[in-house]
């Protein structure tokens, strides 16, 4: 219950819109103002201590040549200068963008069609949905081992023997610099599509049935219904899934680390695998921190942009 009028526009769908009591006090009593912050306090405490503080510290480390035991040496912006001139990092960035775009859109695409196929409350589709959800809960190390076996480069590998029947020669998949990244993306789609499917199933179920009936009355084809009713209704969900997916995609690490380790020939190296290498193999924690900070800033900017763009579209 609000008793103040706020200068910022009230959200259209906020349950609290237009709920100010006329003639009420202009300023909330202190206790009432404190209230929300009390509820927020635990969350802010946990995030502050265990996420914000280490993040800031991480940013701080990026200005040093980090020597864990002997004491850090201040190097100013040297790590950042290195960032901009490192060709390996540049190709890692390209791979990461590639991966983020294709793995995320691929899993959204497949997830959507899986949802279309497996939507509804019927028992057999619920069972199927549970079965299809399984790849999400299996550890990445196992998924990687599975996929390196499935995509074994010899002619008798599982997928290769199927391709062989169609007359396509044995593909090297994870073993060639030209196809390693694509193979990793394929694996990610397999693992993440069920996650997106579940979200889309919920989204599809929440579409107003009356709209579908109206379509039928108007004589719309299935494709028209998809284009003009289903997809627009799903746009808010798709946006969230896309934003979260891209944030995740930019940070892709385990998938690559356990399957190709960035190879062969660095063809599947991502920004975070590169970062981890600086930290764990080259003992260059300062450089790793600089890369992490740059990634943080880029992600924040991208998200701000996304949200601003979404706001403009909604108005």
């Amino acid at each position: 219950m609000t008793t103040e009028t706020t200068p910022t526009p009230v959200a259209a769908d906020s349950v609290l819109s237009g709920r100010h009591r006329p003639g009420g006090p202009a300023v909330k009593p202190f206790r009432r103002r404190l209230g929300p912050w009390l509820y927020l306090a635990p969350l802010l405490l946990f995030i502050g201590v265990f996420k914000v503080w280490p993040t800031v510290w991480g940013v701080y480390l990026s200005f040093f040549h980090v020597r864990p035991y002997l004491g850090n040496e201040y190097v100013g912006t040297a790590n950042y200068a290195k960032l901009f001139s490192d060709p390996d990092l540049r190709s890692a960035v390209v791979h990461t963008l590639f991966d983020a775009v294709f793995a995320v859109s691929g899993s959204i695409f497949v997830g959507f069609w899986l949802a279309v196929l497996l939507q509804g409350p019927a028992r057999h589709v619920r069972i199927l949905r549970t079965a299809v959800f399984l790849p999400t809960v299996i550890a990445m190390v196992a998924a990687a081992e599975l996929w390196t076996t499935l995509l074994y480069p010899s002619p008798y590998g599982s997928v290769n023997s199927l391709l062989g029947k169609a007359g396509i020669g044995p593909e090297p998949f994870f073993n060639s610099p030209h196809s390693a990244l694509a193979s990793v993306i394929l694996m990610q789609i397999w693992k993440n599509a069920p996650y997106d499917m579940v979200i889309f199933v919920a989204g599809l179920a929440s579409i107003d049935r009356e709209m579908y009936e109206a379509c039928q009355l108007d004589g719309a084809t299935r494709w028209q219904r998809l284009r003009f009713v289903t997809l627009p209704s799903l746009r808010p969900i798709t946006t969230i899934v896309l934003v979260l997916g891209i944030i995740r995609g930019l940070r892709v690490f385990t998938e690559i680390w356990v399957s190709t380790n960035g190879g062969p020939a660095g063809s599947s190296e991502s920004v975070v695998t590169f970062l981890y290498r600086q930290f764990s193999q080259n003992n260059d924690t300062g450089y790793a921190a600089a890369i992490g900070t740059a990634l943080l800033v880029v992600t924040m900017v991208l998200t701000c942009l996304m949200l601003l763009w979404r706001r403009r579209k909604d108005i």
Binding site: K51, F253, T299
Partner: protein, 277 residues
């Protein structure tokens, strides 16, 4: 949206099961098989049934790891849901300055790669003392659990859900003289059970899959969580493939069970448009 022929639909079902489920079946088959499949070949049926792989993995630290992971997820998830719903209540039902900034700041915390924060977080944990074991949070359950409590996703889901709880419920309670917390605990939260189900599944998976944090926090094999044990076993040259995959299988089972148990709640929680923001 219905696809025309029944046969066509069932064919698609079969294809989907083949693509998403069959590979996992081969893992199960390998675990219970006496002999390995050839390198590059999938194991369709076990070559000689045996439970030895599972029992061997069990005694190689998997049992203790499972216990630790269960403790961490039980306590951590409870705390996470509590803290997130409290915060969501404020963000959804209260108008106050700074709400937007808080939301965005919380989102921003998800953006730094955890590999960069790992060592600073470890040092932070080393500076916080706790009354239970008389030491710092390092090598303690607290150190394994507390960093995971603050997470943005459940806050978002719950905020979205709570915004849609009808105001009339709250109004009625206030007229009856109920205080803020009472409304939160008895009125709003029970209505949010589906969203809590959704957050429980997301939260479970996130906590269960943690690797880097437990790796650093644990200073004794007794404190290792299951992911650390399983990952370390994967690199072992002493253990055969069956044992390694048995550990992986044990790691996967709780996630499946949780999803099964909460599936209905999970889907209903997403259904209510909680993700529409």
């Amino acid at each position: 949206m219905r696809i025309r022929t029944r046969a066509g639909v069932w064919l698609l079902y079969a294809l989907v099961v083949f693509v998403f489920v069959y590979p996992l079946w081969t893992v199960v088959a390998t675990v219970f098989s006496k002999r390995q499949a050839k390198l590059g070949a999938m194991m369709n049926v076990p070559h000689g049934l045996t439970g030895a792989n599972v029992s061997q993995a069990w005694h190689l630290g998997v049992a203790r790891g499972l216990l630790n992971s269960l403790i961490v997820v039980a306590v951590g998830l409870t705390l996470q849901l509590t803290v997130s719903s409290l915060a969501a209540y404020a963000l959804a039902r209260k108008r106050f300055k700074g709400a937007g900034i808080v939301m965005l700041a919380i989102l921003a915390t998800m953006m730094m790669p955890e590999e960069v924060i790992a060592v600073p977080l470890f040092q932070v944990l080393g500076k916080i003392h706790q009354p239970f074991t008389g030491g710092t949070l390092v090598n303690s359950y607290g150190g394994l659990i507390l960093p995971l409590v603050g997470w943005a996703l459940p806050v978002y889901v719950l905020t979205g859900f709570m915004k849609r709880v009808p105001l009339e419920l709250e109004e009625a309670a206030r007229i009856d003289g109920a205080g803020d917390f009472h409304i939160f605990w008895r009125i709003v939260l029970p209505v949010c059970r589906p969203a809590l189900g959704t957050c429980a599944v997301f939260g479970f998976l996130m906590i269960w899959d943690q690797y880097l944090l437990p790796l650093l926090v644990s200073q004794s094999p007794k404190m290792d969580t299951l992911t650390v044990v399983v990952t370390s076993l994967q690199a072992s040259q002493e253990q055969g493939e069956g044992v390694r995959l048995a550990a992986v299988l044990i790691l996967a089972v709780p996630g499946v069970l949780v999803y099964l148990a909460l599936q209905r709640l999970f889907e209903r929680g997403l259904l209510s448009g909680s993700l529409k923001g």
